[in-house]
């Protein structure tokens, strides 16, 4: 029983972190239809910024992530401008756009290697080595803090998208670009804003990642498949769906690791994805 409850709790903590990594992708890939394969690479950039400011000035990684988010937003908006001018405007976004983001990913990795080398980077904060025990349930703050921050961030993004005019316009641009134009909104500017928002989330997700474990420039590749799978499983563009999918993958991985053996964890998680898509091709919360 102890093992089962702890596995569920660990899975929820892990799932919330997966949601933080995937929420930006849910906007760019799920809503804007931009296959941003470089998304996890931006997460790694976020980790490096957290490491630099934490190791040099002792700043808390979460604070660094929040402070870096506006800069990431601007970078994201600029990248979308380039993407739009080079590919989307000419209708070449499918294959050429994918190659573009592959290129961005490799450039990020190489720049990180050239500037900061290849050693593993970690952050330190007083609370990261602490544990809270609630009866037989152990809660390591190394995972609890990312859970809380990730929940706040995904909640804020969801509220923004569902409650504000710009947020609704982002949802609308994914559904009917022409109708949005008729309403007087500029779809390109809306998409630019949305892509900036998607990249801004990676600053915080990166800070959370380096709190959980060490980071090196190519680590982002580990999360490419998982993040895309979560977005697809949740239903393209659905933030609540993405959160449910992330928690589902986290809990499944944790339960399988605890009871069947960790080598089965990816197979079971991706098996769940395949079964869900077979029964419900649009994902858990996707529009049929």
């Amino acid at each position: 029983m102890d093992l089962f409850v702890n596995a569920i709790v660990a899975g929820i903590l892990l799932g919330a972190f997966y949601a933080a990594v995937s929420v930006g992708l849910s906007i760019s890939f799920g809503q804007l239809d931009i296959v941003n394969i470089a998304h996890p690479a931006f997460v790694i950039v976020g980790s490096y910024i957290a490491w630099i400011l934490n190791s040099r000035y002792g700043l808390d990684p979460v604070l660094v992530g929040v402070l870096a988010a506006p800069i990431f937003f601007i970078v994201g908006a600029l990248i979308y401008r380039i993407y739009y001018a080079a590919f989307e405007r000419t209708g070449q976004e499918s294959l050429s756009g994918l190659a573009f983001f592959f290129g961005v990913m490799f450039i990020i990795e190489v720049v990180l290697i050239l500037v900061y080398g290849v050693d593993y980077r970690l952050v330190s904060a007083g609370y990261l080595s602490k544990n809270v025990d609630l009866g037989f349930v152990g809660l390591p703050l190394r995972l609890v803090v990312p859970f809380l921050v990730a929940s706040a961030m995904t909640g804020a993004v969801w509220l923004y998208l569902s409650r504000t005019f710009t947020g609704r316009a982002i949802l609308a641009v994914a559904q009917d670009r022409l109708a949005l134009q008729l309403m007087g909104a500029d779809p390109v500017r809306i998409k630019q804003f949305a892509f900036g928002l998607a990249i801004a989330t990676t600053a915080i997700a990166g800070a959370l990642l380096i709190m959980i474990g060490p980071v090196e420039p190519s680590l982002g590749r580990v999360y490419i498949g998982r993040a895309f799978a979560i977005v697809v499983l949740g239903g393209m563009g659905s933030i609540p769906g993405m959160v449910i999918a992330a928690l589902l993958i986290g809990v499944l991985e944790s339960l399988v690791s605890s009871f069947a053996g960790p080598s089965w964890a990816p197979a079971v998680a991706f098996g769940a994805l395949l079964i869900t898509l077979a029964v419900r091709p649009s994902g858990l919360f996707g529009r049929a």
Binding site: V110, G117, D119, Y120, R121, F259
Partner: protein, 419 residues
């Protein structure tokens, strides 16, 4: 005014001078044709931290050799390519090194996963193949020109963890049950296979034996499952990010095992040691060189001082205790073999390397028939009195006590792990 005839004479004279000068320059250049050593190296990707550190050590060796006038009177040059920690790239790199770059000699990249794919190419050309930290690669190939610098011993799979299990068997009361957990990759699976054999031959009962994918993020479910299995000792075979995850999870869960460690790569790296700090205390893990008085080989401290200077600002392990001395030493072995045989005849080089004992910065090196060290020197070291956030503490003795082998022992075990 210069007339046409005198202009033509001037041209001829200049041409003759240039020819003579060219001959003077090219004659010694021809005599000192560089000796090219080719290799692939993980300079990007997951193993790049070690790969780049190895390259720094190899460049120090090249500088030393060229200062002495090179090998066989020829300056040494390196031709190398980044294999990006992708084994699939390695065969192509060695094919290019041998067929296009026409290198004189090859040595290996770092690590089991990158060495094994080069073997068929090197074997086809019947070349001597000094290799850098491959675990049991030659078990599959049985190549008589393979020479491996990591001191894993003649039976690398089992020798790797022999000390861990012998130490466990010496404790009173003797622990009974063991958990073996490893990452799903070539090296770690080999290490786990050896641990399994050692556990069985030592009379231990294996109560948990699982692998985990390299992409695992949270290790606490694995540690809790091990705890639930009531394992007295826990043998972990992992790569750096996973090693950090396992240590943190073990401390968070409060693992009650009596021994914890084994084959965790990464706990030898200064940045990780600094970050984990006191969480490392009492962990018993493999290592190959630590700054204990029993391992003070001639030249090793001088080499490390130069490495540490060269490593500054390059984003690699700043202390370089783990791999760099061996990356220097495997080229020392090659150099000494070439000088002894006075040529590059691969058959003679291999024959000499099988019978000679080489003096290197990692001590005397003697190879067994299968190209591994004739005698294992896989250390089992125990972290002791580690303080938080202090990298400098690891540069001196007293933090990683050598428990095994007895010939190199520098202190006694602290047992059990969680006290």
């Amino acid at each position: 005014m210069v007339n046409r005839r005198s202009f033509a004479r001037a041209i001829i004279a200049a041409g003759a001078l240039a020819f003579a000068a060219g001959a003077l320059v090219s004659a010694p250049a021809h005599a000192a044709k560089p000796l090219k050593i080719g290799f692939s190296m993980a300079l990007t990707g997951g193993l790049a931290g070690a790969g780049k550190a190895a390259l720094i050590a190899m460049e120090i060796w090249r500088e030393d050799v060229n200062k002495k006038g090179g090998i066989l009177g020829r300056p040494v040059e390196f031709v190398y390519y980044d294999d990006a920690t992708q084994p699939a790239k390695v065969p192509g790199i060695y094919t290019k090194l041998l067929n296009v770059d026409k290198v004189d000699l090859v040595v290996s990249s770092y690590g089991t996963n990158e060495i094994a794919p080069a073997m068929p190419i090197v074997m086809r050309k019947k070349l001597v193949f000094p290799s850098l930290f491959g675990l049991a690669v030659n078990d599959e190939f049985n190549y008589d020109r393979y020479f491996q610098i990591m001191p894993a011993g003649p039976e690398p799979k089992t020798d790797w963890s022999k000390g861990f299990f012998e130490l466990a068997a010496e404790q009173n009361p003797k622990p009974k049950t063991v958990a073996i957990v490893s990452a799903d990759s070539e090296f770690t699976l080999n290490a786990a296979a050896g641990a399994r054999q050692n556990a069985k031959s030592g009379g231990f009962i294996i109560v948990y034996d699982k692998t985990y994918p390299m992409s695992t993020t949270d290790y606490s479910p694995i540690v809790r499952a091990i705890e639930a299995a009531n394992a007295d000792i826990v043998f972990v075979a992992s790569y750096p990010p996973q090693s950090v995850g396992m240590v943190k999870a073990a401390r968070e869960v409060g693992l009650k095992a009596k021994m914890f460690g084994g084959a965790m790569v990464g706990l030898q790296f200064a940045a990780i040691q600094k970050n984990l700090g006191p969480a490392l205390n009492n962990i018993i893990n493999y290592d190959f060189w630590v700054p204990e008085p029993t391992l003070n080989f001639p030249g090793v401290k001088e080499f490390l001082a130069r490495y540490q200077e060269a490593a500054k600002g390059k984003g690699v392990d700043p202390l370089g205790h783990y791999l760099p001395p061996y990356a220097y030493a495997y080229l020392q072995v090659l150099e000494q073999a070439i000088n002894a045989t006075k040529g590059l005849d691969q058959g003679k080089l291999a024959a000499h390397m099988h019978k000679a004992t080489f003096k290197t910065v990692v001590g005397d090196v003697k190879f067994a028939k299968n190209g591994e060290w004739a005698t294992s020197r896989t250390l089992q070291v125990q972290f002791r009195d580690v303080k938080p956030n202090d990298m400098a503490q690891f540069s001196g003795p007293g933090k990683r006590i050598v428990l095994y082998p007895k010939a190199w022992k520098s202190g006694d075990i602290v047992y059990p792990f969680n006290q």
